[in-house]
Amino acid sequence: MIQLKVNGAARQYDDDPEMPLLWYLRDELQLTGSKFGCGMGLCGACTVHINGEASRSCLTPMSAAAGKEVTTIEGLSENGTHPVQRAWEQIQVPQCGYCQSGQIMQAVALLKKKPRPTDQDIEEAMSGNICRCGTYQRIRQAIKIAANQKAGAKA
């Protein structure tokens, strides 16, 4: 029996321990905000936070999620009010939107570690997340907006 927390709620799982967390979230819990893109940790569409760290849920077996706290895009904020989500909306980052849950979760994790990221920091943190529509330029801008808002809030 694997016990874990998903978006604050205690969950139990008693099936194939090798099944990636992504399919547990999507098929069992119907939390479909985390996306499948490659199944190999190459695209970042499945990014969630495990104990606060950005992680590729398509590569994380359920056994490795045991005892962990998992946060998905659905649990990031009430009604999409996280500063990163607000910045994403403000400059209309998404096109098709499919990769954006993963992009947002990755960006949130980056800003937690580096509240004022440089261009280089952003590129290093975000280059594992593919956007085939090509919204990178706006992702960059949105991360800077969110960083400034957060900095402003603290001041």
């Binding site: 190459l42 098709c96 090509g134």
Partner: protein
């Protein structure tokens, strides 16, 4: 001209969309030549086939039906926004509903960058008609002259008396108004637009940022099972035998099912194979890995990319069918003081949208209900119907959001798979392809070889230009035998080269398709623009002239091209040249603007790695300057792209800009990274490791888009035209920086150092 807008009844809509007493209007796209005045009796209303719908409830809420698929362009917002503007509706009170697939909407195939140009007028007329009926109803209610009443932001006002009536209050009375003939309705002046030309955010924006948006991959229906299909690795392969004992031993696997293999022509058929049915996605995938399958691979099993490429290049280097002729190239070459020859090559490409193909199908009592990420729900209906031997009207297709598409998702083979399986096992079935399936079983962007020969006079000006191409055409997917490009493909940058050269000849040779060939964002324009725009750059350097100045000299005087007497017929993306001319003055203008705004001259003086290309596609004029940084290790970065765009009046500027920003990234993937290779007929790439697409650190850092519409022109296209100039602009910049002329895509496979 008939009324394009007619009354509809509530039963034409999805259940529960409107309350009783609602005003519902439909608009229909009728080609001018078939238009005639139509009477709308009650019976005719019930059978009338409109394609755009608007409804107004008595609570004032407006529902506008989007009949185009949302794959990232924002069309599901922009077209309803046009209608709302003409209706004088308050956008905050508008809800957009996605249409199911139905012939009554006319074409729903969301491709060819055509949604705005095909439906802008229709949406405006639909909105203006609704507004007119609301104003009529208010005037009648107040018993005042019509011209004293005015619609304004969800209300009708009577200025003289200061009275107002809200749209909701007027809904029932407006529904009883006679339908105004469209010669009597007036469209807004540009200055009166509330949303058009300004834009509103996507109706899906909040859902995109919170994970609530529902794609084909996210559909869940009660009792559904998950299928994963093992297909023949070579196109045309057939199942010989299989052993599923180990697959069935996987926990969660329920059964295996054979899907009959497709026979040519493949069209949109399910390819066939062995499906593993399971309780969840993971179990299905694990089960499939345990299948032991023997295939008869068929005739394509001998295809190797190396050999195929050599043959394609050889074909392009021999005289072929003449598809455009001006003057006499052979004679002219004899008088040239300098001759240049070059051969270009581009590989097969996969679409690799972030969401792989996915659908759910439920077969019940001879009917199918599907939910699919599809660009073309009516093709879903037809394809599923053909696969199951039922009628298209017995297939209901709900259109989800699409996690990218780029042309792949107008081909519904994956939906057919789900439907076939649901019929065979009697349960709702979900099909969700892996990345490897997506890349190995695509309808590929075609591979091409192009030969060019230019003859220059003593001043360096070309007096003769010959070009020959070969590429397996899209038609092969549909007839199983086409080997020559059709008019549609050739007009995408091959026969419509706009240069004023006295002797010009374009030829096209045959190529057999070894895989399913399909259309990918901007289609044949990708390779044609690459070859033509790089070869012009070669000529400019041979003539020792600035590439943009040379290009403009070649473009010649301002004129409208019709290619009469030069090509058999010029289709102009299905639009008349009278309304959508091929105007070289517009092309010149975007070139001059991009040269100016990009700082081209300064960058050249400062020896920056800059390259240029310009191309008209989907009736839109685009000029691009690419600026590169090339490291001593050969690593290429793209600090900046400048693009000037004339796509006529812009309806939703931010979304149009976003399309061109995205096209710059898509084009960077084409230029730098992508190629699909065959060994023994099998696609060798399967995921983003071997088929890379641009990441943030490969993509242009800044793309500057200048929207410079021509006054009084019609809206053209936005989704695709940004892609074609990208790879030639990048390759020309590589030459400017390194002095090396590469003539094959992608750059990652060329030896820069």
């Amino acid at each position: 001209m008939s009324n394009r807008v007619q009354l509809a009844s509530r039963r034409d809509f999805l259940t529960g969309m409107f309350s009783a007493g609602a005003l519902i209007l439909g608009a229909r796209f009728i080609p001018a030549e078939t238009a005639e005045v139509q009477v709308t009796s009650e019976t005719e209303k019930a059978t009338w086939h409109p394609n755009v719908w608007v409804g107004l409830n008595s609570d004032g809420s407006v529902v506008i039906v989007a009949h185009r698929s949302e794959m990232g362009t924002g069309i599901r917002t922009s077209l309803p926004m046009v209608l709302a503007d003409e209706m004088e509706a308050d956008w905050s009170r508008v809800r957009v509903e996605q249409a199911i697939g139905s012939e009554k909407y006319g074409s729903q195939d969301t491709d060819g960058s055509c949604s705005i140009r095909d439906f802008y007028d229709t949406m405006r007329e639909a909105g203006a008609t609704a507004r007119a009926m609301l104003v009529n109803a208010a005037a009648e209610h107040w018993r005042v002259p019509l011209d004293e009443c005015q619609a304004q932001n969800h209300q009708v006002l009577h200025a003289k008396s200061g009275r107002k009536l809200g749209y909701g209050e007027l809904a029932a009375a407006a529904a009883n108004q006679p339908l105004p003939h469209n010669s009597t309705i007036h469209l807004k002046k540009t200055s009166e637009f509330r949303y058009i030309g300004k834009g509103v955010p996507s109706v899906d924006l909040k859902d995109f940022c919170t994970g609530r948006a529902v794609y084909g991959f996210d559909v869940h229906v009660p009792g559904m099972v998950y299928a994963s299909v093992e297909r023949a690795p070579v196109l045309g392969g057939a199942l010989r035998s299989f052993d599923d004992s180990q697959a069935k031993a996987v926990k969660g696997v329920q059964q295996t099912v054979v899907i009959e293999h497709a026979k040519p022509p493949y069209k949109f058929q399910a390819l066939g194979g062995v499906a593993v049915i399971a309780d969840n996605t993971w179990a299905a995938a694990q089960g499939r890995k345990k299948l032991k399958v023997e295939w008869d691979f068929g005739p394509n099993a001998i295809v190797q990319t190396d050999t195929y490429k050599r043959n394609l290049i050889a074909t392009a280097n021999k005289p072929q069918k003449v598809v455009r002729k001006v003057g006499h190239v052979d004679n002219a070459f004899q008088g040239a003081s300098k001759i240049l020859e070059a051969t270009y090559y581009t590989p097969l490409l996969a679409h690799a949208s972030m969401e792989p193909p996915a659908a759910v199908a439920v077969y019940r009592d001879g009917k199918v209900e599907t939910w699919a990420a599809t660009q073309s729900p009516q093709d879903v209906q037809k394809t599923v119907a053909e696969a199951l031997g039922i009628k298209p009207e017995d297939v209901t297709c709900h259109v989800t959001l699409l996690g990218g598409a780029f042309g792949r998702k107008s081909k519904p083979d994956y939906v057919a798979e789900a439907a076939i399986l649901s019929k065979k096992i009697g349960k709702p079935v979900k099909i969700a392809w892996t990345r490897e399936e997506d890349i190995r079983f695509d309808f590929y962007h075609s591979t091409s070889a192009m030969y060019f020969k230019g003859g220059l006079d003593t001043s360096g000006k070309p007096i003769a230009w010959l070009q020959r191409s070969a590429f397996p055409p899209i038609g092969s997917t549909f007839d199983g035998k086409s080997e020559y490009g059709d008019d549609g493909e050739l007009e995408m940058g091959w026969t419509d080269v706009p240069f004023a050269i006295p002797n010009f000849q374009a030829e096209n040779g045959p190529a057999k398709a070894p895989v399913r060939i399909g259309w990918l964002r901007s289609v044949a324009n990708i390779y044609h623009a690459f070859g033509v725009q790089c070869f012009v750059d070669e000529l400019a350097h041979a003539a020792d002239q600035d590439p943009i100045e040379y290009w403009l000299a070649l473009l010649g005087p301002a004129r409208k091209l019709d290619f009469k007497g030069e090509v058999e017929k010029f289709g102009n993306y299905g639009k008349p040249l009278t309304e959508y001319p091929f105007d070289t003055a517009r092309l010149r203008r975007v070139v001059e603007i991009v040269a100016d705004r990009s700082g081209w001259a300064n960058k050249r003086t400062n020896k920056r790695a800059v390259g240029f290309a310009a191309h008209r596609s989907f009736l839109t004029y685009v000029a691009a300057v690419a600026e590169l940084d090339i490291g001593s290790d050969g690593k290429v970065r793209i600090p900046r792209i400048d693009m000037a765009v004339d796509c006529g009046p812009v309806i939703n500027p931010d979304r149009v800009k976003a399309q061109f920003e995205g096209a710059a990234v898509f084009g960077a993937s084409v230029a730098l990274l992508g190629d699909i290779n065959l060994a023994d007929g099998r696609v060798q790439e399967g995921n983003f490791d071997k088929y890379p697409v641009a990441r943030m650190n490969d993509a242009p850092v800044e793309t500057h888009v200048y929207l410079v519409p021509t006054e009084d022109a019609l809206p053209t296209g936005a989704g695709e035209p940004g892609v074609p100039p990208m790879s030639p602009a990048i390759y020309n910049a590589v030459f400017a920086s390194t002095g090396k002329r590469f003539r094959e895509l992608p750059l990652r496979k060329q030896k820069l150092v």
